[in-house]
Point group: D2
């Protein structure tokens, strides 16, 4: 992906942007960026047509010279777009006027030659989506790096594994982080693959490139090469798999982000307190001086949760009529932009959140002890099974667990006091079996696998 | 609904706004409008608290005096919002500073008294949604007026009724327009009911209004009265039925708009040509000088189709934890705003589309004749039934229809030449039965019913 | 709403039905129920037509006699539906044959007279939706009753109010339950209003009721009266506001359910433990004998979360062409049924969950003490404000809170030891201010309001 | 992907199944199929554990012998699932009883060893999704084959290209079909990639495989090998990228299907009549003997349009807590199954539709002539441009086009009569330029490219 020919200015910050439009993406999908991308498409089209000999290279350069966004007035283009149904038509008019003024009719006559509005807007979308998608991949990788670091650093930090928000068996925070990492990495792979597959669009009014005579396919190939986008087999004006694939990859990435951010929010609960966000300036409450809210994780969730609905709109918009859709194409523009902003914001917030996440290993340990050892019941049951059979083992441990709960004592003490259990397991065995640090199975191996895969991707 | 204390400036037009952000709503949901609504909430809160005697009215007026959006810098508020997770916290800080500078510590101490950020932002949302929703109702009513006019004017204009996009039996364009009207009116009723039910929010940090001591409920009632919004039974910080009801009403309205706009697009097809959009300046193509695209209907569709996904996001956001949600509340802001803009834009485009829709009654008539009378087969079948029984009647007409198709002649000619039919129906009967103008059943009555209901609503 | 003429058999339980298809709704939307509803529509149509004098009442009774679902073979109807695109066409054929066999051609000739397939299927949908919607309202009211009982019983049970899953200020479990109640009641109102508004459908092939000649509107009115459904102004074959309104009401109800179920799941966390589900037979784990999962709340969530996507599909399906849609109507059938089942299941599970929810008031109290009084910081700050000004008050409490956290002591002890605070607040005052039971504002009043509104609805 | 050990019976046909559940998928995702897949997972787990030496192979075979769905009662399993929250727990109980009865306690003790319910259900989902996904790929390829044949056969069949449902410039039906083909092929690639990536699940209670001691990773690898599914890096109990990727690929495929089916419906309109569905037994209307509805395309649309909402639900369900989600996992089951059925049904209908689509090339030609040559205006404009400049060329053609419309004559006649045009283009040139067959640009090349790519995939 070649960079846009001029960097775009960041748009003015909106009232909710600090929360919902964080990171580099908003500037990359701003009106200025989209306008420049349309002009990049016009310039590349002219150069491609000159390259295959349709007109002199000097005309192409005259056109390209006029393709700088700062020479155009977005508000005016927008107003004129109302009558044509898209912003390309007034833009082509304005571009033609600039070229004519600078280089005369001969050059101006070749502006936008053979193309239709959608060719330019779809290609611009490819350029914009490429830049924004790349930025999203970067932030997802930053989040992944932080998750990998947490996974490695806490590979042996004991934590209660929780199912249905109930403590189940022990695990490590490292494995939890490795699971975050694996989800982020797989989602990142998909976004990157989708970015890499973004095509140009070039078909003319109805996909035949009729105006280009015999040169159609050659121009198409050169156009794609100029822009560093892929070359489609046929025009995809109404065959929107490229848009849908890209959007769904963002949707999956948002889901992967939400999983992690949700876990952070849950682990940061006052009553759990196993993690907190590190930035001390953030998360204060207007009324509660003692609070520190997990603002980054909450904001990541707020962004990520926009995705499913937006993806649904983009999937529903795939039903496009004939050679150009009556509404479904236009219905893509805003959701795609919103999806880029919300996914980008979520990724940026998550990278921020994980990068200085504070982990309270001691609290993890004390929480794991809250049930008085009940989380290791499964293990005792398994250990008893060879001696007494599965059902009897299950029943013995269930009874012991109930007694531990009722009398509010440690399960170990009940086990030690239960002769049917002591008949088969010695005190030393029981003490060892009740140590969660020795009941982690393949947790460390799984951490290594996820971190190794992540490192191989960089 | 009382108007906001100062009208908001229209926001700068974006590149796609001409198509996707038409009508009055974008300005009504702009950052400036939302900011003013938050300040309106702060002013009303101060006045309500003064009214029940918590502090002197002079303090409330000092606070209200500072509650004008043009005294605040959105970009700066936005930047500061990043650390607190919402824009109210920096706004309260800035408002307090202004009051302090103008009226001293005593007044400043009562700014935002007893409220939490969400009280202000949710109430502002109610104000903004009320203004924007009212504007949407207006445009829906404008569209309805135009549909009513079309229904009345074309109550007897024959048109092919089409099922599964195949010509079926005759109807009138008036009945088609009356059906549009009925859908629009019912959807408008719901939007208006939802606007009328929008509540204030006031609960303090966790819904108890603890800081207000015994005055909580009195302040709440006065606060609602001040703003012309409804008074909730309890705080609804995490009980989002009001937001969801409002959003779903907009979603239904978008669907009702899409039905009409889709019909216009279909009737405007080159091969059907029964309607066209009246604005001659609009709908030109960059490459096809003869075309006139139904830009208004297409743009209405583009807006309306955003709604289902946005409504889904807002419904999914109803799952909010405890006394303030960790992400689900923040996830509402952008979709609600987008939904207001897209519904408002669709309603404005539809009103525009229907207001000068050109109806080609002659083309409707000639299209109805395209099948050579096959669309009246049902009627002949029904007329034969008493004489020959249902199945035989069906079979006779089916055979005649097939012959008319195969020989490319009028069904009437086949019927006249079929003795099994002529045995029961005379030539005069057949000619009368084959006249679509006499096979319209209750069409005219239905038109009257829909128009009468519409007029009763104004 | 009159009951269906014969009760339907419960469908065979599917593998996931115990979790996802609980309660009475699955049987009410089964194939048998839908088939019977279509036959009820045919019977009512015949009776309505006889009532206005189109044919003798005896024919109508002959038709009605054949309208019992157990006389039809669903599998065979389904197979034949493939060629016609809907199940009504083969059903009408089978019904005609039965009437013919029992009462001869004369009666059989009037089966389905003047109607189109969609008239019957849409009316059947109204019948089915009415029965299932009523059942959902019942379960929502059961859940509401349980919430009201919890609200009343725990009107003074202290609990930590939590914002962003962090402890904030004190509240009561009664107010939390009253907030659940208010959301459920408002959503229930909407579902009931939507049920009450369900219309019949009758328009014939293209909405004119042409076959019925001058009798169209009279038959329509009588048809609606027969079935206890409302009478539409015009046929709504492609104007789907009634379906969309009903679906969105279910969507909002699902959201209200999800809010409550989510809170139960969160309050039942091992580390919070403030509530648990009462059914001792439920929630065991295959591997962890000590666990008791909140199965009912989890299952309610699983059902409720289906709604947003299904509602989106139904809203998107409102875009229907001309007089009968090519796909969008058919696209409604399955999502509407799924939405009824998932909402019904969620409502049934929630009623079950709340009906024997175990509340651990002691644990609520001890959790509220976890922060050593920091949750009352706001109150101290407010109390200091008159003496030292707002900012100074805020800063003093913030410093004290930090010290309490750092030294791991009670905030009260820090306050008592801080001279700048003791200068303004006496020990007795501080002790009283630090008692959460005296900092509940209007909590009790809000509970009363919500419960009173609920009781007024019964 | 190894086939399931016993083929599943087709489920009983439901009332709407003929329309909405066509093709092989419903049987492949039936309760029987899912139950067998769970049992296949249990058998493979036992064999994998025996293979790494945890217990004797004879025990594994004893377990595998009991893993046949016809030995279990779905209704009973379902009833018992209500108390545990999923169907695996009662299934494991029943399986253990069968093994115990047949092979004694020693073998029975190793049933489900080390696994958690979700391991079995997620792996079963992988098996079921693999079978159903493969069937969907087959039907998508069948549809693609038919599209390729249409593209080749009609590579030179002239047709009006249509933008916004208005005739634009000429194209060929072959290129339209090639565009269908390209969309279907790209979507099919994605579904197949997603099928190929489906992983097993194995992590035990909290992802550590603690019960398996040092054997965890070895068992995991062998388990995947046994089932022909891929091996995950870590357990993905709450990291749902695999489910989401699969679901989004189905969503994109549904969109690609909808595009094609929508075009068929539009081309089959009475007023266009360019294609019709070939099956003469299908598409009759209950009231209109002459009609032939495009039932297959309509039914394909009905299925395809379910996808966006279902995908949204599955994306939203990615937010899963800790080591096992409280509701979000359960919320996946039904939507995934519905998505498989609806996508499968849509693919089967589309293959059916395209396989015997009747193309009326003559009607395509006559429709292309409907505008009297206006669709070639762009070409004349381009031809004039070198002589008179772009704007003048555009204006001349626009004026001629308007005159042709106003006087209802052929554009060619106007052009021939316009001296400013005749000055630059001779009659022969104009006649040639007005022949659409010579204005197809690269249409034939694009057809070849799409067909060649399709053939390379087989």
């Amino acid at each position: 992906m070649r960079p846009s020919s001029s960097p775009s200015e960041p748009p003015a910050a909106g009232l909710f942007d600090a929360v919902l439009a964080r990171g580099p993406v908003p500037a990359l999908v701003s009106d200025a960026a989209w306008l420049q991308a349309m002009l990049d498409a016009e310039a590349a089209l002219a150069r491609a047509e000159a390259a295959v000999g349709i007109f002199p290279a000097a005309y192409a350069e005259a056109i390209a010279t006029a393709c700088h966004a700062d020479r155009y007035d977005v508000t005016r283009l927008s107003a004129e777009a109302a009558d044509s149904g898209n912003p390309v038509i007034p833009l082509v008019r304005a571009l033609t006027a600039l070229v004519q003024a600078a280089a005369g009719d001969d050059a101006a006559g070749w502006v936008h030659f053979g193309a239709t509005s959608q060719d330019v807007l779809d290609t611009a979308t490819g350029i914009v989506a490429g830049h924004a998608g790349t930025a999203i991949v970067n932030d997802l990788r930053n989040a992944g790096d932080a998750a990998a670091r947490l996974a490695r650093d806490h590979a042996t930090t004991l934590m209660a594994g929780r199912t249905l928000l109930q403590q189940a068996t022990p695990t490590t925070f490292g494995l939890a982080a490795a699971t975050w990492l694996d989800g982020l990495d797989r989602a990142t792979d998909d976004v990157w693959a989708a970015v890499s597959a973004l095509p140009v669009q070039l078909g003319g009014a109805t996909g035949t490139l009729a105006s280009l005579g015999p040169h159609g396919v050659a121009v198409l190939g050169e156009f794609a090469r100029q822009l560093g986008l892929s070359e489609p087999v046929v025009a995809w004006h109404t065959s929107r798999v490229p848009v849908a694939r890209f959007a769904t990859a963002l949707g999956v990435a948002s889901g992967a982000i939400a999983k992690v951010a949700g876990d952070v929010v849950h682990l940061a609960q006052t009553e759990i307190g196993e993690v907190s966000e590190g930035n001390p300036a953030r998360g204060g409450s207007s009324t509660m001086p003692h609070k520190r809210n997990p603002v980054a994780a909450v904001s990541a969730l707020a962004g990520a949760r926009q995705a499913p609905g937006l993806v649904a709109t983009l999937l529903a918009s795939m039903e496009q009529e004939h050679q150009r859709a009556a509404g479904a194409w236009h219905a893509e523009w805003q959701p795609l932009r919103s999806l880029l902003v919300s996914t980008g914001s979520a990724a940026a917030w998550l990278a921020d959140c994980l990068s200085d996440l504070q982990v309270d290993a001691a609290r993890m340990g004390s929480n794991l002890g809250l049930t008085g050892g009940l989380v290791l019941g499964e293990r005792i049951s398994t250990a008893l099974q060879p001696a007494v059979g599965r059902l009897e083992a299950h029943d013995l441990v269930a009874a012991a667990s109930r007694r531990a709960v009722e009398e509010n004592i440690e399960l170990l003490d009940v086990l030690l006091a239960t002769s049917e259990i002591r008949d088969h397991l010695k005190e030393d065995d029981l003490r060892r079996l009740m140590d969660p640090a020795t009941y982690l199975g393949s947790a460390a191996v799984f951490v290594d696998r996820a971190v190794a895969r992540h490192e191989a991707l960089r």
